[in-house]
């Protein structure tokens, strides 16, 4: 699947990967496919985010590989949501937020001036922490994206396929015309996933998708993610380390750095790599302390 370019920039070409060899993820030991076989979906370089002039996330550089689940972990307030919102330009919607640095999506800088953020979000879907179905019918929720994007094919079929892909079809097939607000929390969240899938994105971003759900619903979402990663690249934010260890191939650990003098705080990327390595043999002391539950 080659995503259509948002624009045709010559000026925003991906920097030669040889310039940043140290950022290539650690691989091989746990049977994870060699990443060199695939081009990264996202190549993030020196990404910083400011809210009203205060830095919230500082100089994050990271590669995200396709058809895998990448987990972003870290203590509360370290900038996980801020980071993931950069990947589909949702931060544009927050008044006072500014983003510096580069996010290359299949080689194209999504922060280049000629890129339309609306086009970016059509390729890169998002599922939020709290389920946020529209106050419409189940069917209209799933059909929303295709409709606004001018979908011309068989909408009924697309809705059914999306609901099946989100493992929700059997539960809602008799109440497609009923309000989505009548579904349970877990069903609503799977509906939001179906809604995101219906626009046929390339990447799905999930910001703590299970944190508002009960354990049973959480397991269902995690199982669903395993199915979805065959087709989509998934990036999931979670403060739940067991969840990250269970579902993800790769993990990035963000942590809050504090300036002792001004007591201002910001998030940094401490380390990232294969999930098994991050949890068993982290290179950084802070990662080790965090994953072993010593703080956070």
């Amino acid at each position: 699947m080659t995503p259509p370019p948002f624009a045709a920039p010559a000026s925003t070409a991906l920097p030669n990967s040889a310039q940043a060899p140290d950022l290539t993820p650690q691989v091989g030991e746990y049977g994870v496919p060699q990443p060199s076989a695939a081009e990264p979906v996202f190549t993030i370089r020196d990404l910083s985010v400011y809210y009203g002039g205060n830095v919230a996330l500082k100089e994050v550089s990271l590669d995200i590989m396709p058809r895998e689940i990448t987990a972003i972990i870290g203590p509360s307030g370290c900038g996980k949501s801020t980071f993931i919102r950069c990947l589909n330009r949702m931060n544009d919607l927050i008044p006072g937020a500014t983003v510096t640095g580069d996010v290359f999506y299949h080689g194209q800088n999504i922060y280049a001036p000629e890129v339309d953020p609306v086009a970016v979000r059509r390729r890169i879907g998002m599922v939020f922490q709290r389920p946020n179905p529209f106050p419409k019918s189940v069917y209209d929720n799933v059909a929303f994206g295709p409709r606004i994007n001018g979908f011309k094919g068989d909408l009924d079929e697309l809705v059914e396929n999306s609901l099946r892909a989100a493992a929700l079809w059997d539960e809602v097939k008799d109440k497609l015309k009923k309000s989505a607000l009548n579904l349970s929390g877990g069903q609503q969240q799977r509906l939001c996933i179906a809604r995101a899938i219906a626009v046929e994105p390339d990447v799905i971003l999930m910001d703590e998708p299970a944190s508002a759900l009960d354990p049973v619903a959480t397991v269902r979402i995690e199982d669903l993610m395993q199915e979805l990663k065959k087709q989509y690249s998934i990036i999931i934010v979670t403060h739940n380390m067991q969840q990250a260890a269970r579902v993800s191939e790769r993990t990035a650990f963000l942590y809050t750095e504090v300036d002792e003098e001004t007591s201002s705080r910001w998030g940094i990327l401490v380390e990232h790599g294969e999930t098994g390595l991050i949890f068993t043999r982290p290179k950084d002391k802070r990662t080790e302390d965090y994953v072993s539950g010593r703080f956070g």
Binding site: M90, R122, F134, P135, I148
Partner: protein, 301 residues
């Protein structure tokens, strides 16, 4: 964080809390007393409304007939025949026109205020809507009179213009309040699916706010349907049925009620009572219809 009490200490505090609590009986009675006081206040506030409604209903029904609904007003207050059909048609035309203009305009203005309005222009619009809601309607009538009636003469369009000016700020402010209540998360959900700002407003924000917007529109329509003073200065009133929009005076139910009520003859006064009932029923029916439509357009739950 702070001093942590020993287990014995905290248990002791809890026990003494329970002991020092007021007797349950007293709390119960305070609660009952407060409830009774609130119920009393509600009943007290309902008395005038109930009296007005029942009085209009009793007096109006006595004078109500098919003839009243289907015939125009006779040329003499003394004559006991005829009805207010001329006023019904005039009210329909003028309130309809005013709604057609003020509702789309008001909703658009509210969207602008809520979604785009940050600067001086937005604050000006807000300020003038607030001022306009407080302006006595006779001033609006005077304005339309000097600006449009003097050059073009009395007519339905002039009356509708005055009513639209009265309705507009009500629609703007209630719609803006309702748009504010739509959760930001819904909008973000829409943006995340690749919707533009315009698509998000049309397909997510407005439908979510629809029941509230309907209430605002109803308030404005009910207000316009009952306005008298501005119509005296713009529509003038007429005893014959007309559907001309311009160049000819036109009647309205409040105008006929006003005329009938202040004349000394029993027949004219009775028609005024029937007219009051007709206007009340009209507003009521319209309110019910709009509510049904609004709840239909939401999805079944």
């Amino acid at each position: 964080m702070g001093r942590s009490p020993s287990p014995g200490e905290s248990a002791g505090a809890k026990v003494s809390d329970i002991n020092s609590a007021r007797p349950a009986g007293r709390r119960l009675w305070t609660n009952r007393l407060a409830s009774a006081a609130m119920l009393g206040a509600v009943l007290l506030a309902m008395i005038p409304v109930g009296l007005i409604l029942s009085y209009i209903f009793a007096k109006g029904m006595a004078a109500m007939s098919w003839e009243f609904l289907s015939e125009p007003t006779p040329f003499s207050f003394r004559r006991a025949e005829g009805g207010f059909l001329n006023g019904l048609i005039g009210t329909g035309i003028m309130v309809g026109l005013a709604t057609l203009v003020s509702v789309p305009l008001g909703i658009l203005a509210a969207i602008y205020l809520q979604e785009y309005g940050r600067g001086l222009l937005a604050n000006l619009i807000r300020f003038f809507s607030d001022v306009m809601t407080g302006v006595p309607s006779v001033f609006v009538g005077l304005f339309v009179y000097t600006a449009f009636v003097l050059p073009f003469g009395f007519g339905a369009v002039m009356g509708a213009a005055a009513l639209a000016i009265i309705m507009l700020p009500i629609v703007v402010r209630t719609t803006e309040e309702m748009l504010k209540l739509v959760p930001l998360e819904l909008q973000h959900g829409s943006f995340a699916l690749g919707a533009s700002k315009f698509q998000t407003i049309i397909r997510v924000v407005l439908p979510s706010a629809l029941p509230g917007i309907t209430t605002g529109v109803l308030l404005a329509v009910a207000r316009a349907a009952g306005e008298t003073a501005p119509l005296i200065l713009t529509a003038l009133g007429s005893l014959t049925i007309t559907t001309k929009l311009i160049g000819e005076p036109i009647s309205a139910l409040p105008l006929l009620i006003f005329d009938g009520a202040r004349n000394p003859f029993a027949a004219g006064q009775e028609r005024a009572w029937a007219g009051a009932l007709e206007l009340l029923a009209l507003v009521l029916i319209f309110t019910l219809l709009a509510r049904i439509v609004a709840s239909r357009s939401k999805i079944s739950s």
